[in-house]
């Protein structure tokens, strides 16, 4: 046991009172500390207070949404934009996590849960967890790694205004299951020839190994098998429109998974987080955020924030109109 993990909750009403460990988790924490021999409670990591302003080195939490389907919108230039509609379904913060790694660096994360579920079908263990957080039982609980300043009070309800139209997001979901598929579809094998004496095995994978030496198939050999229904990330999709009334996020392009599946949305790692800190360090301040985005809701876009903002916000096109010929 090299790392010490403590799940702390802080009261949404009383931000100053940040550490509120229940007796059981204190006992667990003590058990853990006694294992590693560090017994003093000073080593226990504290949830740092959240900053109130986004900085280029901040990493915000993501959200859990449900994919509802696709539709097309037309932007201000009259260009058709195919979008996927994502809807937040009672997305709430259930815990803040701080873990000290072996090298004394810290891992910070926000635990988010979504989609209410009946108490009857919730396990006692999870019910205890949700009760501690003071939220109704949820179907899906996920953790997003954040920077130390981006912790959110437990119980906070997150809103679609978390994302700013014009910014980029990564969307993570399980892809559509394809069932048991052959090598041609699953791995892009070419199969055997259509003629030249090939019979019955036109879509065969062909040889899968050598002979008596090695006498076995090497692990990881690409063969027929179950395809799809695996975690897939689509990176750098622009957010086109945000609707806080119905809690909708319109993201440009296609997203893995079936309709009504849970998807994770977070600020794009490459086009937002990496570029922000990099351009800040280089002094390219106008490129810290994507074009047209001035700031991001920090530490998160909550339902309280949504009440102070317009219900529907749309991104204009930040590119040259394709309908005007180039001289």
């Amino acid at each position: 046991m090299f790392s010490l993990r403590v799940v702390c909750r802080h009261n949404s009403q009383n931000l100053t009172h940040l550490r509120l460990l229940s007796t059981t988790s204190t006992a667990n924490a003590n058990a853990l500390t006694s294992n590693v021999g560090a017994s003093s409670s000073k080593d226990r990591p504290e949830i740092p207070p959240s900053g109130d302003k986004w900085t280029p080195n901040s990493i915000r939490t993501g959200l859990i949404a449900r994919k509802r389907g696709m539709i097309a919108l037309w932007n201000d230039q009259g260009v058709r934009v195919p979008v996927t509609v994502l809807q937040l379904d009672n997305c709430q913060v259930t815990a803040n996590v701080v873990t000290v790694r072996r090298d004394k660096s810290e891992y910070h994360a926000v635990q988010v849960a979504a989609s209410d579920k009946p108490v009857k079908t919730t396990t006692k263990q999870m019910l205890g967890h949700f009760n501690k957080a003071g939220v109704p039982p949820k179907r899906i609980v996920k953790e997003f790694a954040v920077s130390a300043d981006a912790h959110i009070p437990v119980g906070t309800e997150l809103s679609a205004v978390h994302f700013v139209p014009g910014q980029f997001v990564d969307v993570i979901a399980n892809s559509i299951g394809k069932g048991f598929q052959g090598g041609m579809k699953r791995w892009g094998f070419h199969g055997l020839a259509a003629s030249h004496g090939v019979s019955v095995s036109h879509r065969s994978s062909g040889s899968t190994g050598q002979h008596q030496d090695p006498g076995r198939i090497f692990p990881g050999k690409k063969m027929a098998g179950r395809m799809g229904n695996e975690r897939t990330t689509v990176q750098n999709l622009p957010v086109i429109r945000v609707d806080s009334e119905l809690n909708l996020i319109f993201v440009k392009g296609a997203i893995p998974g079936v309709d009504d599946a849970h998807v994770l949305i977070r600020d794009a790692k490459k086009k937002m987080n990496c570029l922000s800190s990099h351009n800040q360090a280089k002094g390219l301040y106008e490129k810290v955020l994507p074009k047209g985005v001035d700031d991001l809701p920090f530490p998160a876009g909550t339902t309280e924030l949504a009440k102070t903002l317009p219900p529907i916000i749309e991104a204009p096109s930040y590119r040259r109109s394709p309908f005007i010929p180039i001289e």
Binding site: R66, R68, G69, I71, A72, L73, W74, D76, G78, R80, V85, Q87, D89, V164, P165, G166, E245, L246, N247, D259, D260, G292, V293, D294, D295, L296, P297, T308, L309, P310, I312, I313, E314, A315, P316, Y318, F323
Partner: protein
């Protein structure tokens, strides 16, 4: 209400229809059909209903000759309507014509703000064709020119 996170973002002044079942929509029930009904571009809902609804007397039918007036090039395009794709706001029509001995097919989305008007020049012979999609006209130019030439057999 001001939007502090982006100065250039657009804030469309849209309100949900009064009879919208808000609680159900928030749970995602009937959300996509609702969006398909209500996400038309400004002032396009009536036009789209006229063109694509099967209840509308003015609905488009494949096999008719249709002219589309457009903001962008080509500003006008006339051709035989060979396909209708019904997808709510994303509905489109495909027109086919022979220009300078080259077959030209254009797909138009009447919900696009650039499309100004969709005029039916002539309805299909005998009111309707027997197929929903007239892709076979690509391989039989004689039948195509018969439709275009207006010999209503």
């Amino acid at each position: 209400m001001p939007y502090p996170f982006s100065k250039t973002a657009l804030v469309p002044n849209l309100t949900l229809p009064k009879d919208a079942p808000l609680e159900k929509l928030k749970l995602g029930k009937g959300l996509m059909p609702f969006l398909q009904k209500n996400l038309y571009s400004a002032g396009k809902a009536e036009l789209m209903h006229d063109l694509f609804s099967r209840q509308s007397p003015k609905q488009l039918r494949v096999g008719s000759i249709v002219t589309v007036l457009n903001d962008q090039a080509p500003n006008t395009f006339t051709g035989v309507l060979i396909a209708i794709r019904r997808r709510g706001p994303d509905s489109s029509i495909t027109l086919r014509n022979i220009l300078q001995r080259t077959g030209i097919e254009m797909q138009f989305f009447p919900n696009a703000p650039g499309v100004k008007e969709v005029k039916v020049i002539r309805p299909p012979p005998k009111g309707r064709m027997r197929r929903a999609k007239l892709y076979y006209l690509r391989d039989s130019p004689d039948k195509m020119s018969m439709l275009a030439g207006g010999k209503n057999k």
